[in-house]
Symmetry: C2
DNA sequence: GAGAAAAGAGCACGATCGGTCACTTACTGT
DNA sequence: ACAGTAAGTGACCGATCGTGCTCTTTTCTC
């Protein structure tokens, strides 16, 4: 049973890459299988259908993302320090090997935003949980804590800057994308912390 | 020659819709043809290849977008009034019939960000021209005008809020998306205008 | 080491993909 | 009105899609 898990992991890695490049639907099972040195039918011993593989890809990408951005930050005290660490790791993520061909989560979000089904549901679930986590983090920016509405607005802007960073960097090739995002975020945190007083 | 132009336009409308839903590559010629009541081969009398149609779709979407957001605003005086009108129209666009299934420009941006070719080039060209236009508009926010760097940073945030609005509204179903985007943008304009003094 | 179960290969299927070609129908400029 | 061209059809091509099937090889368990 061990061998199977290893190939399953290789399949998911390759699939995640191809999904980021070509999209969920356009990434074909044949191409994925060939890239990991498998036959198409061999692939079906690990996933019952294409949709099952897509679901597994989404789950793995979300796991990796959380691990990448959150794990390093959770050691820090809640509030400003942790928030800034998360944001920087978030930008790092978009430039990491897992997002070599664009952040897969962004790609999935756009492709699935009006394609109902279990894959979209899973994606939504992860995004909303992430949002809840970050909103709580923003609330902890001040004492007494921010209202949920204020924190939600701050999160909206934080997420927006990540999306803007991704677009500016990848499509427009803007070398200042990271700097723009960072300065915008720091200014946001400043204002948010101050408005609590 | 008139008849042909009309069907060509119908094809492009339908194609743009399907592209927004399923993506550039997944939108098939057969489905588009059937939706406009044509045979697949009839479609080829208007476009030499799928890529040619994709290019035409991108051009038409960009034309429509500019018309939708800019035309109403250009009558206003440069600076704050015009900027706010554009931003509101931009949000309107994302909720208009042309973006019923998601903003096609956002969909194209994510799908094409690492797919070189003439379609991507055309998209880039339009986005960069739009960016130049808006940066100039931000510069005109104050007298003396803002530096290009300052204005570029402001545009980065403006575009980010649009992307954030799109994601929050469509994928997360956030009813406050528009309000969040508007308040974030107004605050941005305030700060930007003030920082010039 | 034998037997069971998992992992994978090979082939074939129906459907659909983008694209071609020969042909008919509809329109338009003069 | 008539000729010429544009618009549109239907049949078909090779390739590729996701998926099922049978069969062999590898791996794990006792």
């Amino acid at each position: 049973m061990r061998k199977g898990d290893a190939t399953r992991a290789r399949i998911l890695d390759e699939a995640a890459k191809q999904v980021a490049v070509r999209g969920l639907e356009s990434a074909s099972l044949g191409d994925v299988a060939e890239a990991v040195g498998l036959s198409k039918s061999g692939l079906f011993k690990h996933f019952d259908s294409k949709e099952a593989m897509q679901l597994a890809v989404v789950e793995q990408v979300q796991r990796r993302f959380t691990e990448f951005t959150w794990t390093a930050a959770e050691a820090l005290p809640p509030g400003r320090a942790r928030l800034e660490a998360i944001f920087e790791r978030w930008l790092d993520w978009a430039e990491s090997e897992w997002a070599e061909h664009g952040c897969p989560i962004v790609a999935l979000s756009v492709e699935l935003d009006d394609q109902p089904g279990p894959v979209r549901d899973q994606l939504q679930k992860g995004l909303m949980q992430w949002r809840r986590t970050l909103v709580r983090e923003f609330q902890a920016l001040a004492d007494p804590p921010l209202s949920e509405d204020e924190a939600a607005n701050a999160y909206f802007q934080m997420k927006s800057f990540v999306l803007g960073h991704s677009e500016a960097r990848r499509l427009l090739g803007d070398p200042n994308a990271r700097a723009s995002a960072l300065s915008a975020f720091r200014s946001l945190v400043d204002r948010t912390a101050r408005q609590a007083a």
